[in-house]
């Protein structure tokens, strides 16, 4: 049994580090999703939802006034913020909700950090008539109160998780506990490219449409491929989604931007690759922020969606083989990039996506005016107005 490679490995990363109780559900999910991937009925239904519900294909927007601050490079945004529910998350959720019904399950659960995945899941549940429970760290329910209300209005139950650091990782812990107890009738729609196999691969497959569309759109607009594709990386689903179609394009740099928080030396960050130590969390082997004993360290970021101590295993693999590179943007640099896009282009990005913008400002200056950069604008910033207003002193509250 140990001589054969386990499914779902990306080099040494990935795998299935979960209780035996969940193995049958993971095997069922893997079988159902593989059948669906070649089933015209499933693909047609998903395509119809993309076109008539989500609003795909999402457009691209060239942002010259922003790009003037990026060394004069051309900068093109992939507008996942314009999707229904306001982020890329809906791509994955609609597909997993369809799979939930195919498996004969009537309930869907999810974790959420910023609330984007929770809102998307609650939306899909409402659309398809599924019961829905969303787990969210208590700290995150406070900094994303508006999204909590959105999920409730959509009919979901929202559970504020008060264990541990009360953020995304603790929400995942609680969702896993729910799943083990209710796996007969419940699907756990993991919101990013992590977790036990087949989640990392499956979620990437459901998001790869981002890169497929964007590659053609950039070719149509500019007649060439971008020099770099830039995306923020929390768990890493929007990044895998836009990277995947470009992996074979050797001349295209793939650049992930992690949350640098208050700086690496402060210890208050979520820059897993800045430390780069492998470990197991939530079912997958990947790079992990951990102490000497292997206890998970608490991450920090101004953006709840990047506030996670591990990262999707395929990212760790792409880094190890040198195909993708990872850098980080601090809270400070991110908020400046956030404000810059608002002021120069009239687009309010999610704080998560603002990390990618901060990365683009750096990369543009490094590559100069001949460079063409494609940036995944993974979400819109309406949900972050409270944080931004406090940060910039626009309302009477200490930041």
């Amino acid at each position: 049994m140990t001589d054969t490679p386990t499914p779902g490995r990306f080099g040494r990363f990935g795998g299935r580090y979960v209780p035996e109780a969940l193995i049958p559900a993971l095997e069922q999910l893997d079988e159902v999703r593989q059948k669906a991937a070649v089933d015209p009925d499933f693909l047609d239904e998903l395509d119809r939802l993309h076109r008539t519900y989500t609003g795909r294909p999402s457009i691209i927007t060239e942002v010259p006034r922003f790009a003037a601050h990026a060394g004069g490079a051309r900068v093109i945004l992939k507008r996942e913020d314009l999707n229904h529910t306001g982020s890329h998350k809906i791509n994955n959720v609609l597909a997993q909700a369809l799979l939930t019904k195919r498996m004969g399950k009537r309930r869907i659960i999810a974790e959420t950090g910023a609330g984007q995945h929770g809102v998307a899941t609650a939306t899909a549940a409402a659309l398809m008539g599924l019961d829905c429970t969303i787990y969210m760290g208590k700290v995150d329910t406070e900094r994303q109160a508006l999204n909590v209300a959105r999920m409730k209005i959509l009919g979901a139950e929202v559970v504020a998780v008060e264990h541990g650091s009360q953020t995304l990782k603790d929400a995942i812990n609680e969702a896993l506990r729910d799943w083990v107890a209710n796996v007969d009738d419940t699907h756990y729609a993991i919101g990013t490219v992590t977790g036990p196999h087949p989640f990392p691969e499956m979620v990437r497959e459901f998001h790869k449409i981002i890169g497929i569309e964007a590659r053609q759109q950039v070719l149509d607009l500019t007649g060439r491929l971008p020099d770099a594709v830039i995306a923020c990386v929390g768990g890493g689903s929007n990044a895998m989604g836009i990277f995947h179609r470009f992996i074979e394009d050797e001349g295209v740099r793939l650049i992930g931007v992690e949350a640098g928080g208050e700086g690496i030396e402060s210890g208050r960050h979520a820059a897993r690759f800045a430390v780069a130590e492998p470990g197991v969390l939530h079912g997958a082997m990947s790079y992990l922020m951990q102490d000497e004993d292997g206890q998970t360290l608490e991450s920090h970021s101004v953006s709840a969606g990047l506030d996670y101590p591990s990262v999707g295993p395929e990212h760790s693999y792409l880094r190890d083989i040198g195909r993708a590179e990872y850098r980080y943007a601090t809270d400070e640099a991110t908020m400046e990039a956030f404000r810059l896009l608002c002021r120069t282009e009239g687009i309010i990005p999610a704080l998560e996506s603002a990390h990618a913008l901060a990365g683009a400002l750096e990369v543009g200056k490094e590559l100069g005016p001949d460079a063409l950069l494609l940036v995944n604008l993974s979400g819109r910033g309406d949900k972050d107005m409270h944080t931004a207003a406090a940060w910039f002193g626009l309302i009477e509250e200490a930041r």
Binding site: Y17, V18, E20, A21, P24, G164, V180, N182, G294
Partner: protein, 273 residues
């Protein structure tokens, strides 16, 4: 593979219990709870009052398989500065008290120390083996090799959801015993231990001769007796842990001793029922 544990392992104890016509009592407590010294005294108390095997828990920051009681205890242990290496102290203490010490640990703590190093250190401290709730045999190549080399028992889990193929695959990789989760869910006290546990044990018996110990949900002597009627061992965690909450240590240890005696009497009634 049938159970052949080492002379110092759990197989010998389980065989002795079987010869006595009863199930074994396996008690769980996290090291460092309520504090380091207190946890060592508590484990000794559990052995002296009738636990045949001790499962030493290692507190982990993200205990996804645990319910409220064990989460709370692990949190207290971590807040008190408990380190992974403390498990070796606990192993020596349990061994001196006269029971085989097993360690129950989330896998990243072993990975981080190094699988071979952890196995060597635990064996040197008198440890009997590892119970690995988030490691399936498919991912356990390094650990199986270390276990073969050191003679430590390796206990994987089976669950009510396990298919016949998985039951066969998992039990064939166990040594010492297999841990049968009585229910789909996390650790914690339950009012009843349902029929799922009996069904699971019966299904597992069809594919293995290895002793089968049942955990999750047992809290009383009556439940222990019920489970002892069909299992080779009864594993109790949250109920024992809970005796040490919200009390001074001496009073807690008395409660712990009393519950252990009740459970020990239970596993001796089971076979007679």
């Amino acid at each position: 593979m049938t159970a052949i544990g080492t002379a110092a392992g759990t197989a010998e104890v389980l065989a002795r219990c079987k010869a006595e016509g009863r199930a074994a009592l396996i008690g769980y407590l996290p090291v460092g709870f309520p504090d380091h010294a207190g946890s060592l005294r508590a484990m000794t108390t559990m052995v002296e009052n009738g636990c045949d095997i001790i499962e030493i828990g290692v507190p982990f920051s993200d205990p996804v398989m645990d319910g409220g009681a064990v989460q709370r205890a692990a949190g207290m242990a971590l807040a008190g500065g408990t380190r992974v290496a403390d498990v070796f102290d606990a192993a020596r203490t349990v061994r001196e008290a006269g029971a085989p010490p097993m360690v129950m640990t989330y896998w990243n703590l072993v990975l981080r120390r190094g699988v071979a190093r952890f196995a060597d250190e635990f064996a040197a401290a008198g440890g009997a083996g590892l119970i690995t709730p988030d490691l399936i045999p498919d991912e356990a190549g390094d650990w199986i090799a270390a276990s073969e080399r050191t003679g430590l028992d390796r206990v994987f889990l089976i669950a009510p959801s396990s298919t016949p193929e998985r039951l066969a695959a998992v039990t064939s990789q166990c040594r010492g015993f297999v841990y049968a989760a009585s229910t789909m869910g996390v650790t914690g006290v339950r009012a009843t231990v349902g029929s799922a546990a009996r069904d699971l044990v019966e299904r597992a018996r069809e594919v293995t001769d290895i002793p089968i110990c049942v955990g999750l949900g047992v809290s009383t002597g009556e439940q222990a007796a019920q489970v002892a009627g069909f299992a080779d061992g009864v594993i109790v965690g949250s109920a024992l842990v809970s005796t040490l909450f919200d009390t001074d240590l001496e009073a807690g240890l008395e409660r712990l001793a009393a519950l252990t005696r009740e459970l020990a009497a239970g596993v001796r009634q089971g076979q007679a029922q």
